[in-house]
Symmetry: C2
Subunit: 448 residues, 2 copies
């Protein structure tokens, strides 16, 4: 459906048939219009933006990519800017300003209403990736003395400008959070019931500086639709809604994937990221790992006489280091993911160590057995060599899995991101260790 639509729409843009286009766009959802506009040329996007039905402009704008937002803001009049910025939810407005160059920010703020400006400035002060940075200021607040009927009246009067109306917040005269009440609860109560009798006072909340990942855990654990955010004096300053949390969970997973593949994290979609940014995000870690691998190579110089005497030993190196790397990555990945989901904490160090050790004994045994069999078949009579390589493999797997399992926990203990201890780093560490293990065993078993 989307594809057919956007082909037709592109045709209309090409024909400069903006009247029909306007008519067609009015039938679509904001998110779909934004996807269509994100793929337009920069010259066309402003024309299309201007032909949007008036009440859709700000919403479509909030769905656009930050590049397109910047381009549009730079191309429209002050008056048009004012109507967008005052219509946007405060969190979307703050997101926009964070991406814009300073000169444009100034112009946008100049055109915002005084109230919007104050709120936006406050939002811009929250640390990135904090509850404050993803919350919205538009929520329904009630007083505990209200009846259910009065609550419904207030909700109906103010619903239009609120991001969600389904959870309402009961505050006192100093805006301190006293209770939470869901619209479902209101539906189930009699019209004359007073809110203080039915509101939930055992409140799950976050403070503005809490990490967004922690906020996401709360949503997942308690199946929340929204979460109140309070300042350090327990005054209600905003709420986080579940749609923003869905975004956070996807983004955090994407970041972890990037970090775990040794890249600087980036929020932009791959196809929209320039070649130089992509290269920049990848180069530093590759360089660090390359230099580490050079040191690993240095290990080998010590054993030159071993592989000059018995060159076939070299041919087992890829199998040993790769298997070690893979075995270690499996363990570190499970532990890193478990930590991201709060299933594993640094207090689980010994259980993890003990579990990985036992798993590695089983896995190592299976792999070594197959390896021994293969070597005996390929090199008949060379039992000692087969035994040497298989022993080295066993030791490598045990070493790789225990190191892979505990390094993320150690990183966390030293306040470093556990995701760093993923595949690439583990592989590099395990490589060096497995080569040392290999040639030590070779020295003992094969060298005279």
């Amino acid at each position: 459906m989307d594809i057919r639509n956007s082909t037709d729409l592109n045709q209309l843009v090409k024909e400069k048939n903006f009247k029909t286009l306007k008519h067609e766009l009015a039938k679509l959802r904001e998110a779909d219009i934004a996807s269509f506009m994100d793929d337009l040329s920069t010259e066309n996007v402003v024309i299309v933006f201007r032909s949007l039905p008036k009440d859709m402009g700000a919403q479509v704008f909030s769905y656009l990519s930050s590049d397109m937002q910047e381009h549009i803001v730079k191309s429209i009049t002050d008056q048009e800017i004012a109507s967008i910025i005052n219509e946007l939810f405060i969190d979307d407005a703050a997101d926009l300003l964070e991406e814009l160059p300073a000169s444009v920010v100034k112009r946008v703020l100049k055109n915002a209403s005084p109230e919007a400006r104050t709120l936006i400035n406050q939002f811009l002060q929250y640390p990135p990736d904090s509850a404050g940075s993803i919350m919205t200021a538009e929520f329904v607040d009630l007083k505990k003395t209200m009846t259910v009927r009065q609550a419904f009246d207030r909700i109906r009067k103010t619903a239009l400008d609120k991001e969600t109306v389904y959870t309402c917040y009961v505050i006192d005269a100093n805006r301190r959070l006293e209770g939470v009440i869901s619209v479902k609860r209101l539906f189930l109560a009699d019209d004359d019931t007073v809110l203080s009798d039915i509101m939930e006072t055992n409140i799950i909340s976050a403070t503005t500086t809490d990490d967004q990942e922690w906020v996401a855990q709360l949503f997942a654990k308690y199946d929340l639709l929204s979460l109140p955010v309070v300042d350090h004096e327990n005054r209600l300053v905003g709420i986080v809604t579940v749609d923003d949390v869905v975004e956070v969970i996807r983004q955090e997973a994407t970041e972890d994937f990037q970090k775990m593949a040794a890249m600087a994290p980036s929020e932009k979609p791959y196809l929209k990221t320039g070649v130089f940014s992509l290269a920049k995000n990848r180069i530093l870690w590759l360089m660090v790992l390359m230099i580490s691998a050079m040191l690993t190579g240095g290990v080998l110089t010590k054993y030159e006489q071993a592989f000059v005497a018995l060159p076939v030993l070299v041919t087992f190196i890829p199998m040993l280091t790769d298997t070690g790397g893979n075995a270690g990555s499996q363990s570190s990945t499970l532990v890193i993911r478990g930590m991201a989901l709060s299933e594993i904490t640094t207090r689980d160090f010994f259980p993890v160590l003990w579990k990985e050790f036992r798993v590695s004994l089983i896995v190592g045994a299976a792999l070594s057995a197959v390896n021994f069999l293969r070597l005996v078949l390929m090199y008949p009579g060379e039992y000692l060599m087969a035994l040497t390589v298989s022993l080295a493999l066993y030791a490598t797997v045990v070493m790789a899995k225990t190191i892979g399992g505990v390094l993320p926990l150690i990183a966390k203990f030293f306040n470093t991101d556990p995701a760093i201890m993923a595949s690439p780093v583990i592989t590099t560490i395990v490589d060096a260790c497995s080569l040392i293990i290999y040639f030590k065993i070779v020295e003992v078993m094969l060298m005279p």
Copy 2:
């Protein structure tokens, strides 16, 4: 807070002070009670479950781990089973039955009410990970001829048993979905407005067999709270709610992490998975990759005379293969994640190839330059060797990144899971290729 609570609660269990325990539990949230119970011994968990306030039992039960659910079901009376199974939302009941052994399933179904039994049986037929398998049957349905006032009446009358009341579904006499209306929209309308005038008819929906990942994409794109699920005759059979989608997004990411680290995916938390299951999930892929790496080693036998003549060449192997593996993993990870988020499709094959090629030229140049410098400093006068190794490194990076970028797309084209083409597989492929490249260049430049 959670920690202090559970210490106190454990103390009460130890003292067998179930009266106070019951009192304390009544103050907690269902999700917190379930976390506390999941860590109890199997003998205590049934006692605690029985001391729960009656109206909380089924809800707490739905939050428990499947092991605990199984244990409880096996230990309680038929009557107790009946009260749980008839109180659970149908999707939770179906989830439970999927995890139980056949004999227990029979006993549970025997104790369910006839209506619940019919619904549960229907749910059990939907494919795993489909929209049907995560939907719930408890939603508010309205008729288009109703007024807003009548709609509110119906919502208030039926709210108690519904998983969400905030989006209502307008159906005709044959249960065909005609429209969707949010409670927010109802709040904003006059009491006498007829639903057909204000309901949304441009409906986003899923069919029972749609993949849950696709459902999650729809929620993320349109910021949904719930999504109607229809059968192949467009009859409304259930809805998916956002809390289940949050779970799906987290689970799908976890599965991808596991697959990308060459493991069979598992839904159980790490610390609750047995050593043998963990080993079983890891062994197959490690075996496949080990055997592939043996073949890579075979490549080296062809070049034995090269490294016997110039043993220092061997010391560069870890640096070359590791850097190649890391460079390739970066590319494949970005593409795999982009595909999981629907940002990249198989139609983007050539843009991805071209992008990765250009990125690899930049990254390769930087790495080779550093590498050349290092070799010239370490082995003064050996310019030709430094050049050879650096050239091999450049070629390896270019090869690794283009292969890493396109293999996930090729996998998808052949209907294989792109996540397979992650780090471990890419590393193994790149290892073999980089060794061939290396020794080919060595032959040309260094061998007489």
